[in-house]
């Protein structure tokens, strides 16, 4: 007889390596310190007037990774490879002699190939086929950043790219957990990258997604749009018992992940609620056991309102409930990378006992949440990470301090 439950069950999965590349820091500790200080990286975009962006200044890939072919890859791919390298080093798994057949790579990237595709296609139009660079075409398809990352580290278990946009890295953490939990690899590098090329910023601006006032006010009634940020993040996932076996010290544990979809904006609150509920059930936790929320609010009125109301319904709509933090006012909307960054910020807060404030929040879109407006002490064993995509996908993840 098959299990009656429709909740995803997994063996405990440990995060044994973490890395970030952001405008506010290139280690989780540096990033946490900058967020705690309320620093924001958003500034007027360099090449698109009237919008804000958060870019990594003076990024030099060879500072982080020395892998073959690095110079051939575009910026989001280089960011991914560098984050992956740092996460691998942090986990100590390379030094432990992990066989290549036991390492898998799962990359969250929807737009990472776009600049290369545009370059290839425009050269085709302007210069003709014989003048195109044939080496560009394989790098101009959506799977290219993931393939390049896996090739860089010789990962032979799998090389997967998920293109789920704003919920991409939470979906990737869920799938990565299943693949590691099911024994498809001993370790899985989950990597997420986002770096908007000028064309994408222009398109988002013209579509009305970006704040015309060049501000990003998460969860605020004045929210009039978002602003893109540039970032990559990576984690190494392992089964808990195998991590312990090699003497690794897990940084945190993934307990549950679920996604849902809403076909209309009016359904977002309900869909996110379903995703949160299922992630909690998969984790075997009650909502009261959530001590911290790392939200995806990005300044878009519809999404932020739906997220706030869904969290209110889940947590009891009380300002005495679990504290809610949101970091896109600091880092910008990093799309595929956002969920992983939110997860790592939550892990840092649980480990340090301090959670950062939501910058720019003055007039909450929904009153029944305990928004953090200044750095606060938190004592959380479990954190909930939430995200909503522009297309209506909602994803939730439970990450815990203890197994």
């Amino acid at each position: 007889m098959s299990p009656a439950s429709s909740e995803s069950t997994l063996p405990p999965i440990a995060i044994t390596g973490m890395a970030v590349l952001t405008p506010l820091g290139d280690t989780p500790d540096l990033l946490a310190a900058a967020l705690a200080a309320g620093r924001a990286a958003l500034e007027p975009a360099a090449d698109v007037p009237g919008v804000a962006a958060a870019a990594i200044r003076d990024f030099e890939a060879t500072r982080y990774a020395n892998v073959r072919g690095l110079r051939l890859y575009n910026r989001p791919t280089r960011l991914a490879i560098c984050a992956a390298k740092m996460a691998l080093s942090d986990s100590g798994i390379e030094a432990a002699g992990l066989p290549a057949e036991q390492l898998g790579v799962l990359l969250a990237s929807t737009f990472g190939h776009l600049e290369t595709l545009l370059e290839y296609d425009r050269s085709l139009v302007t210069a003709g086929m014989q003048r195109t660079n044939p080496a560009l075409m394989p790098l101009a398809i959506p799977s290219a950043p993931g393939a390049a990352t896996a090739l860089s580290f010789g990962a032979k278990a799998f090389s997967i790219t998920l293109s789920d946009a704003g919920v991409g890295s939470l979906d990737a953490l869920g799938l990565g957990s299943r693949l590691v939990g099911g024994g498809r690899a001993r370790a899985c590098l989950v990597v997420a990258t986002f770096s908007a090329c000028k064309d994408l910023v222009l398109a988002a601006s013209r579509a009305g997604l970006l704040s015309p006032t060049a501000a990003l006010r998460a969860f605020d009634r004045r929210g009039d749009g978002t602003a893109f940020g540039e970032a990559a993040a990576a984690v190494v996932l392992e089964r808990v018992e195998l991590a312990r076996e090699r003497g690794a010290e897990p940084k945190a544990y993934l307990k549950g992940q679920a996604s849902a979809f809403a076909g209309e904006p009016a359904g977002l609150e309900s869909a996110l609620g379903h995703a949160c509920g299922r992630a909690l059930r998969a984790a075997g936790l009650a909502s009261a056991e959530i001590g911290l929320v790392s939200a995806g609010a990005n300044g878009s009125a519809v999404q932020d309102g739906a997220e706030a109301r869904a969290l209110g319904a889940l947590l009891g709509a009380s300002t005495a409930g679990a504290p809610v933090m949101a970091t896109k006012g600091n880092l910008g909307e990093t799309m595929d990378a956002s969920g992983l960054l939110q997860t790592l910020v939550a892990v840092a807060a649980m480990r340090s006992g301090k959670a950062p404030p939501i910058v720019g929040l003055e007039d909450p879109v929904f009153a029944g949440l305990r928004y953090l407006t200044r750095e606060a002490n938190v004592d959380a064993r479990n954190a909930l990470v939430t995200s909503i995509s522009y297309e209506g996908a909602c994803s939730a993840l439970v990450v815990s301090r203890e197994p």
């Binding site: 595709l117 085709l124 393939a147 032979k156 293109s163 996908a393």
Partner: protein
């Protein structure tokens, strides 16, 4: 405890047919649909060969203001698969969707590029953001059919369709959903034609998998979608269970950004993992659906992989490539081939490799040349590989 995953619906839109019956009949007859393209061309290139799909209403209307050709093909195949599964709206509210694609809506990027020389940055319209977001392939399906579960888009180049089946298998077997719609879709694009031509991997005539004349790929467009369902859920609603997706195997060559490992090492690993995780013995395998692209790189490596896995029995296991008839449909290919495997179980026969009259000297297996073969089929392996070296093998068995 893992839950068993069964196939209760299939849908294809290919040059060989947009309904299951003509699709299967054309495959078994060994009809090659590769020929001059009527609707797609690339400026500066000679007239192209490949395969195209003719969609009539209502499929031709499955293209909202933000959808492109790839979405249209996806939605057409999904509609057929859901109808085949006889799934009502009451079963779709928590259903998931996983779509694999190599190129997504790349053709729409081309439209922007066409305007680039005259318009520069003004060529970027407000809809370019959503057109560039390939996640929309899954969310459009969810929106159109009221699916409220996870929406995933998997990009693993030409193994994307099989990979989508694998992630949907995980979703259903782990309890993340009772029903998942999974498959792959791709339209013809100019980057794939020009890129393969420049790399010397585009056939100068029509593709000849495993044949002495093999000289490259012939591309096609299409989509293949399967409805996966937890076994007990399917039984409770009285569904016609067509086959079981018994498991899958994955591996990565980590060899080169485009070229596969010449000895098929990754393919061997994926097959072995698929057999092991699905509890399938070597002797149970009745048919192998090859990746079979018609390139020397692939076909020779795939043949070596078969020999490494099956040993002396390799020559006794029929293996064929339907790309010889419908072209290489990129991310759709292995999903369409999964539908072909399901039909092989249903009809107790295996499709052929068309255009195979003089076997390549290094290809000496039973490739089922020219015509399909009636035979007992209980277990099929569905092989796929993609740029970047990602290999997926799914195991499709007779319905439990």
């Amino acid at each position: 405890m893992r839950r068993r995953v069964v196939i209760t619906g299939c849908g294809v839109v290919t040059a060989a047919g947009t309904e299951l019956a003509p699709f299967w009949a054309n495959l078994m007859a060994g009809t090659c649909f590769i020929g001059p393209l009527r609707h797609f061309s690339v400026p500066g290139m000679d007239p192209l060969t490949g395969t195209e799909v003719d969609l009539a209403e209502p499929d031709s209307l499955e293209q909202d203001a933000r959808g492109g050709r790839c979405a249209q093909l996806t939605l057409a195949a999904v509609r057929r698969a859901l109808a085949d599964a006889r799934l009502g709206a009451d079963h779709l509210g928590r259903a998931g969707v996983v779509i694999g694609t190599t190129l997504g809506e790349e053709r729409q990027v081309g439209e922007v590029s066409d305007r680039w020389p005259a318009s520069g940055a003004d060529s970027i319209g407000p809809d370019f953001f959503s057109k560039s977001d390939s996640h929309r392939l899954a969310t459009l399906v969810a929106k159109r059919h009221g699916l409220g579960g996870p929406t995933l888009v998997s990009a693993t180049a030409c193994s994307s369709g099989n990979a989508a089946l694998a992630w949907a298998f995980e979703m259903v077997s782990c309890g993340g959903a009772d029903v998942a719609v999974a498959g792959g879709a791709d339209a013809l694009t100019r980057s794939i034609y020009t890129g393969f031509l420049r790399m010397g991997a585009l056939s100068r005539s029509i593709c000849h998998p495993f044949d002495r004349r093999l000289d490259g790929v012939s591309f096609g467009e299409g989509a293949g979608v399967l409805v996966l369902e937890e076994l007990e859920h399917a039984r409770r609603r009285g569904a016609a269970v067509q086959a079981e997706l018994a498991g899958y195997g994955v591996s990565n060559d980590a060899h080169h950004i485009t070229a596969p490992d010449p000895n098929g090492v990754g393919t061997v690993a994926a097959i072995r993992q698929a057999l092991e995780t699905s509890g399938t013995g070597l002797g149970e395998v009745d048919y192998v659906s090859a990746h079979g692209t018609g390139t020397p790189y692939n076909d020779v490596a795939e043949t070596r992989a078969m020999k490494a896995v099956f040993g002396e029995r390799a020559g006794a296991v029929p293996i064929s490539s339907i790309k010889s008839m419908i072209g290489h449909t990129n991310g759709a290919a292995s999903a369409i081939e999964a539908v072909a495997c399901t039909l092989a179980l249903r009809h107790q026969g295996v499709p052929p490799t068309a255009n195979l009259t003089e076997p390549h000297p290094e290809c000496d297996l039973d490739y089922v040349p020219l015509r399909g073969r009636a035979m007992r089929v209980g277990t099929c392996l569905n092989l796929s590989a993609g740029f970047g070296g990602f290999n997926v093998c799914s195991v499709i068995k007779r319905a439990p």
